[in-house]
Amino acid sequence: MKDIVVRADSLHKTFTLSRRQRKLEKTGETKKVAVDGLSFSACRGEIYGLLGPNGAGKTTTLRMLSTLIKPDAGDASVMGHSVVKESGKVRDCVGFMTSELKLEKFFTPDYLFQFFGAMHGMSKDKIAERKRDLFTRFGVNAFAGVKVGDLSTGMLQKVSLVISIVHDPDVVIFDEPTNGLDVLTAKVVTDFLMELRAMGKSVLLSTHIFSLAEKLCDRVGVIIDGKMAAEGTLEELCGGFSLEDRFFSIYRDLKGDVL
């Protein structure tokens, strides 16, 4: 039995919709349930993927696990720390990467790496050692002194990646890890995620790309309308079908023939 390092227990999150959002979503409802009693667990040394369409609640779940937002009900633990009661401790053992979190354009990757290392309470020596390792692995050295504002999208994604894991976290959470990346950078990222798994780290990622989930994930949770529709290893979930076919079958079962 593997160690469970992330455990979500009946997570629930509701958002109040602004007038503008109600108009955009063409609804009269003032509340929207983003996550509705979601429970799952991820073990040490595995990649767990949250698969679902846009608006299913994947990002909200990851934001709750990384303590950016609090659940309305339920709780989750990361490395044994509650995201509700021990958010500081959770942040120390989690690396979170999402397009929502930006880097200041004025600074260089070199400076930002040191700054965020210090933000996680790392010593200068430890930061320097980590920088040598990650900058070499991701090819950041070539543009380490260039301001973030002058970097290409691919370069920026690499910098965001190395900064999110500067503190060598036990749990790495990625929201749509390969979105917007060129094929070469995407390959570097997927290889690195597999390497993290080999190192005994736990990786939680959200995606709507079936091939990525099939390639990377040990276990997958299918989220539809904030609820866990199906969960298991790829073999358990797919039962001989492709992940894409199985997903649409689950979707049809829940939502009817709306595709």
Partner: protein, 377 residues
């Protein structure tokens, strides 16, 4: 350690960006240049025809020369015998007379004979440097007499002591100007650093680390207050150094204040900087964009300006003002500039302003922890 890294980052951001340094220091330089040019223009421009009333003591043919010079410039002059110097001075102070002109006895004969003894004879001109007509007459008279010869001296004498004049100007204008410059200096850096970072999503990246929210709040307020002080100091120096030219006076009156006055003035001036930074940072944290924060801050600026200028019209506030933020600093800066030494009131005001700053830091900390404020759409 984390707090230090946050503070260093803000300083690094500011001092490595030439644009920010320029926008911070430029107002002071521009004010100095603008006010100096304005001052020169005011004192050199042509005036409308004036009728000068001059009290005269002693006789000299130079009076006729002076009269002709004044008439040539389109003005008129009436010389009246000086009977009571004190009442004549009072008339000058009230603007009814322009000056007193005193020639020593036997002035013309002394000049003709060329026998001066150890000292040259002196023509005394009593005038009011704060009155435009009196100041103009003094300028014309001294220039005309100096042109005629160097065998005598001109002894100018102001009806107002310079410290008194300086104090009057400084008391009414300076605290208000200081607060305005402090506010604009704070606004330029704080809006960008807090509302800007929130809008761009870079503040959220810091919040995802294990740094405490209170460290993030203090890590903003402390460096921004230091940088704002620099900007406020630049503007303050700009206006202080250009004021003599603008008012046609010297900085000599600054030396009439005691060391204690300056010791009390400094903390009063400095304590409003972190307070205003904290107020703007609170508004910026609450706002969704720089644009929204700018709009709210504009209203705040008007409020602070009204509070500051109101002290120029209301002769005396009670000691209850020590608990009113910003107003307390303005009121006691005025008292000090008037020559008073309100020690306990000033110290309490500084303490109260720092207390308000601490309360705002706590509020910002709470807001940084609020997902509705930080991540609400």
């Amino acid at each position: 350690m984390k707090l230090l890294a946050l503070i260093k980052k803000e300083f690094y951001r500011f001092f490595r960006d030439p644009r920010l340094i320029v926008t911070m220091l430029l107002p002071g330089i521009l004010i100095f240049a603008l006010y100096s040019i304005l001052g020169n223009a005011i004192y050199s421009e042509e005036e409308e025809a004036r009728a000068y009333r001059i009290y005269l003591q002693g006789e000299s043919s130079l009076v006729t020369v002076l009269e002709e010079v004044i008439k040539e410039s389109g003005d008129t002059v009436e010389f009246l015998p000086l009977e009571d110097e004190e009442s004549a001075k009072a008339e000058i102070e009230e603007g009814e007379a322009a000056a007193i002109l005193v020639f020593p006895e036997g002035f013309d004969e002394t000049l003709l004979m060329g026998v001066f003894g150890e000292t040259k004879p002196a023509v005394r001109i009593v005038y009011d440097p704060s009155d435009e007509a009196s100041m103009t007459f003094y300028s014309i008279a001294s220039a005309t007499l100096q042109e005629i010869g160097s065998r005598f001296e001109i002894a100018p004498q102001s009806v107002r002591s310079e410290p008194e004049l300086g104090r009057e100007v400084m008391t009414t204008i300076l605290p208000f100007i200081i607060v305005c410059f402090v506010f604009s200096a704070c606004m330029s850096v704080t809006l960008e650093s807090v509302a800007g970072e929130k809008e761009r999503g870079t503040l959220a990246t810091v919040l995802v680390t294990s740094a405490r929210r209170s460290d993030v709040a203090i890590g903003k307020i402390v460096p921004l207050a230091c940088v704002s002080m620099l900007g406020a100091l630049s503007s303050f120096l700009g206006i202080a150094l250009s004021m003599p030219k603008l008012m046609g006076m010297s900085l000599g009156f600054l030396g009439t204040y005691s060391v204690w006055s300056y010791i009390l003035l400094l903390p009063l001036l400095l304590c409003i900087v972190p307070l205003i930074v904290a107020v703007i940072a609170t508004v910026s944290t609450l706002s969704r964009s720089v644009k929204e924060a700018s709009a709210y801050t504009g209203v705040l600026m008007i409020l602070v300006m009204v509070v500051s200028i109101i002290t120029s019209f209301v002769p005396s506030f009670g000691d209850w003002t020590v608990v009113v933020p910003v107003l307390n600093a303005v009121v006691y800066m005025q008292r000090i500039l008037q020559g008073g030494l309100p020690v306990w009131q000033s110290l309490v005001s500084v303490g109260v302003n720092l207390l308000y700053t601490a309360v705002l830091v706590v509020i910002i900390t709470k807001m940084l922890s609020s997902e509705r404020i930080m991540f609400g759409k």
